[in-house]
Symmetry: C2
Subunit: 196 residues, 2 copies
Amino acid sequence: MGKPTETRRAEIIEGALAVAAERGVNTVTTQAIADQVGIAQSTIFRHFKSRDEIFSAAVNRTGATMLQTLEPCFSGAGSADQRLCKLIRLQLEYVSNNKGLPRILFSDRLHIESPELKQSVQRVMRNYTSRVSQLLQEGMDNDCFDRSLDPDITASHLVMLIQGLLMRWSVFDFDFDLDSESQPLWEFISRAVRPN
Amino acid sequence: MGKPTETRRAEIIEGALAVAAERGVNTVTTQAIADQVGIAQSTIFRHFKSRDEIFSAAVNRTGATMLQTLEPCFSGAGSADQRLCKLIRLQLEYVSNNKGLPRILFSDRLHIESPELKQSVQRVMRNYTSRVSQLLQEGMDNDCFDRSLDPDITASHLVMLIQGLLMRWSVFDFDFDLDSESQPLWEFISRAVRPN
DNA sequence: TTGATTTGTGATTAACCAATCGCAAATATA
DNA sequence: TATATTTGCGATTGGTTAATCACAAATCAA
């Protein structure tokens, strides 16, 4: 007991994500988080001003961590199509190990109740899509991808595909193996972006 | 006052969908529905046994109506690719006019809290995907689509795309025109399924 | 060691919620 | 018309929730 607040904040965020993953965002009450962490409900408010602040911090933290994990796919070595293929695989792998992320990210609760949080989520999504677009543009320049593509629109379609898959996986309670979806998904995407 | 219960049930379902569309599923309280319809909160329970029963009825009703609307695309006349293109367009158009549907359909609240409702949603989605798969198979037989495609897997990818788009639209609070997304979406899909 | 700040907790509060109940008005039935 | 059933509503109830507060323990600074 008596841990520094930064440690507690991390524990609380983790706890919130764990509860969201296990039982859905709507069950993430301050009491549920406290039980998960092993502290009193009121202790939560020593480290966060409000419940929404927990969600906000969770989105910002996991969003940043995820982008950092995927960074090599955007700026690393290798051809553009190899890196795009790797991005799909890494993305699904990352979410497999962080099930709370799609639950929170796709919960309409957050966006409507907290405009600030909505901004956070939208920023993460825009950032992500923008990087995919750059990767596509790079591949088009190197004839990995079809030059007639619109990189921005195509990027948003790729993000939609991944989001649709993640949402289905989340909504269907993680009852299929996400990692094994990456190969057929890449084959589909590959067909859509390859040069004629 | 004193309307027959079937009329009231329809009004209440409509009211619930309207509130979900405007302010999110989590704000769909019996009080909010009652205000929307213009009746007392307790009157809700004259026509529905519980709040969950309202959601269940809403999903069943709108799910059936949607499949009925899209039926011509699956079993109607025209080439397979024309009908698939039309399906995209009609699907987005339908949801444009029924914004509450994606909000409810993609809410984790329902799936986790009500197993019965989860079954309903999964049945609708499986039915939908299965029909898309049949349409793909038909197009493959007629050389509209590439013969090397796996129709089931490809169908699930098409559904993911649509779901991803709808979710993004819902999450971003309907702040872009959904109908104008159908053309570029079809171009993307067309690339992925066309013969070599 | 002493005094101040931080962290933790139980009790409490005020708001919100789904659902119930008694009673009144409306509607249907005879 | 007379009576029974349905529909509507205000008041209420029991449960849940985020957030506050006074007070205690632990940690830190001097």
